[in-house]
């Protein structure tokens, strides 16, 4: 047991921090802010390609797959640093779908999609949810029907985030209407958004973030598009979600925000004299955030380490997701309180303050991951069953 980075890992962190400092030009930062921290703009794409060319996207991937051959810990350090730098990293593609394709994809996918993910040329959206299938995802209705050598896909997905600028949708389809259980009749496909039968309409959320309703109208694909085995899609879905969870609760941005607010509170003068940070209640709020973010950091590192060892426990992955998602909400509250009413003044206002305006947006986006990425109720079900061996009610 040694809960500290090796000198090599420290060096990697320092190198990455300098790299991203240079990468994040004021123009790119402005574009990312405009795009609500979602990315997709021209400078954002250019930066992603550069990272791909410099070999960073696959830093923790095996060399055979075109990576640098380091471990998931280094991969996590990379993602932590990039998120810290404020770059909206397409982690769904690189950290969750990518590894699933590398492990379970067919020859065409391994030759054509995986390398492009690592070079920053291919972006993939997640198409699970439907108007009638949320937490109970296995009830999804979008179908893929075999006609000759082709699959014909029809249906509607909801909340297909990033799809409006992605190249593919990682799409869950029903392929067996008569399966003994609904989740045993689902298969995964990679569907190109360039297909004429594909369309999307925006759905705007409280945080200003755009997501999409997406439509699949007689889209025809061949077996190259089928991922893994027919009717075995459920395992791919849960595997992808397990990987996604770690990225969702990455501690980098919160650490950065905390440090920023501390510096700001140290410098901010009160009209009655003294600094904002001298006040006990301010120190108390900051200390609560600091103690909480330390736990989040360790929970994340432990998972990255467990992935390296090949023994990631389901209950631990769920615990990280629940803890992180609920902690973020408390962070935005506690830091918002420190910045008082300025934390309601938006970045579009001339009076805006940098960190306060960030919190103004973050508190509006914070709830997404308590129910998204597998709702916390289900995660807690998993924890009590898999982590504590408690029986659970039949569903």
């Amino acid at each position: 047991m040694k809960v500290e980075f090796t000198p090599e890992q420290e060096a990697l962190r320092t190198e990455l921090r300098a790299y991203f400092k240079e990468l994040m030009t004021p123009e790119l930062t402005a574009e990312c802010n405009r795009d609500m921290g979602e990315g997709g703009g021209p400078l954002w794409r250019e930066a992603l390609l550069k990272m791909g060319k410099d070999g960073w996207i696959g830093v923790g991937w095996p060399k055979e797959l075109g990576g640098k051959g380091l471990s998931p810990i280094e991969q996590f350090i990379f993602v932590e640093e990039i998120m810290r730098a404020g770059y909206p990293f397409p982690f769904l593609t690189t950290e969750s779908v990518g590894p699933q394709l590398a492990e379970h994809g067919n020859a065409w996918q391994k030759a054509n999609i995986v390398p492009k993910i690592l070079s920053g040329e291919c972006l993939i959206a997640i198409g699970y949810s439907e108007p009638g299938a949320g937490t109970d995802l296995a009830r999804l209705k979008t179908t893929a029907v075999k006609e000759g050598d082709e699959w014909v896909i029809n249906g509607q997905k909801m909340w297909t985030s990033l799809a409006h600028f992605c190249d593919y949708v990682w799409l869950a389809c029903r392929t067996d209407q008569n399966a003994e259980k609904p989740h045993k009749g689902i298969s995964m496909f990679l569907v190109p958004t360039s297909d004429p039968g594909w369309s999307s309409t925006p759905v705007v959320t409280l945080g200003g973030v755009r997501t999409n309703a997406t439509y699949y109208d007689n889209i025809r694909v061949n077996d190259d598009a089928l991922v893994g085995e027919l009717n075995k899609g459920w395992k791919l879905i849960t595997g992808q979600l397990n990987r996604e969870r770690l990225s969702l609760v990455n501690c980098g941005p919160t650490q950065q925000l905390f440090n920023g607010v501390v510096k700001w509170a140290q410098e901010t003068e009160l009209p009655e004299g003294g600094k904002l940070i001298d006040q006990p209640w301010v120190q108390m709020n900051l200390a609560k955030v600091r103690a909480g973010v330390e736990a989040l950091k360790l929970v994340c590192y432990k998972q990255a380490w467990a992935m390296t060892e090949g023994n990631l426990e389901m209950a631990d992955a769920s615990a990280a997701k629940v803890y992180g998602s609920e902690f973020f909400i408390e962070v935005y509250r506690a830091l918002g309180e420190v910045m008082e009413q300025m934390s309601l003044v938006s970045e579009h206002s001339p009076q805006a303050q940098e960190h306060a305006a960030r919190v103004e947006r973050l508190y509006r986006t914070a709830s997404i991951i308590t129910f998204g990425g597998g709702t916390n109720e289900i995660q807690r079900d998993i924890i009590s069953a898999a982590g504590l061996w408690m029986p659970r009610a039949a569903r």
Binding site: Q283, A287, A295, L298, A319, V322, R380
Partner: protein
Amino acid sequence: MNFGFSEEQREVQNLARQIFTDLVSPEKLKASDDYAGERFDEALWGKLAEAGLLGVALEEQYAGMGFGFTELALLVEEVGRSIAPAPVIPNLVSGALPVQRFGTDEQKQRLLPGVAEGKLMLTAALMEKHNENPASPRLTTAVAKDGGYSVSGTKLCVPFAHRAERMIVSAKTDNGVIALLVDPKADGVTLNEMKVTTYEPQYEVALKDVSVAAEDVLAGADKGAEVMQWLTEHTTAALCAHQVGVTDCAMRMTASYTAERKQFGVPVATFQAVGHRAANCFIDVECLRLNTYQAVSRLAGGHNATNEVQIAKIWAGDVGHRVSYASQHLHGGMGIDRDYPLWRYCTWMRHNEMMLGSSAKNLAALGKRIAAGEAYCQ
């Protein structure tokens, strides 16, 4: 970054767990409830000595196993898991470790082999009334005398003072804080029994012009505060490790009980509200465990760990509080029935929560460090 245990660490864990499983039982613990008997098990203590565990972090030249603080903390965690009546923290962490680290060769030769062999006990007097910072004693003072010191003052809640060969006592002098090895049987020392929530033997130690010879000075005024800070951080981390064991066991007891207990024709664990409250405990205990291991690992590596220890103690307080009441609640009446083992765990969760600073106090201290620019996220 490595969260796994080495072969040796696993051996220490397994050995300790085996001994406590064999020798600690609710029936035996019952013997010291309400101070009916002393909360100390001689046979268990002998067994720990025989297995070498009392010397786990002592050097081989002092009859120890030669491992470090990490291995000792893993032993402490097992003490917590079984709430064994064994004063491992006062004796091995607060007592023996500082002697090994800061003592003279003569002091080490005189005291440490006896500790490893289970024949000699050490402890530390860490509390004064309204002052729980051992590195800054306010009610205990000393003046130089015959090459040593004469010390006066009162310490509270000193565990096992009656059995100790020496207790570490910090005192204020005109030149700074000193750390002394005081003989509880020396002239001028009065031990007054205190009754506390865990039934651990604890004493109010009154010192009146107690002479401490030069050979029993652990640290002079140039180093006393540093020694006491070191002792405090190690003891705090050990309390956190104890809390990991106690909370983990209480949580698992709750999981098994609710899986067995039926109401409305089904195990109560199948009610989602019950499962989720237990899941919250699981998340809490994991956060406590990781913060504790980080603090322990940094201390073991000789790194600065002030922030990490404070943060771990904040978690130890919060998690102890939450797991205690969640466990009691999810057991229903059984949780507080003295014929069922949970309630004793609750008293230890409270002990670990409060000793050497509660969550609130540590949050305030951490907040000060943040304000001073000493606790940025790295």
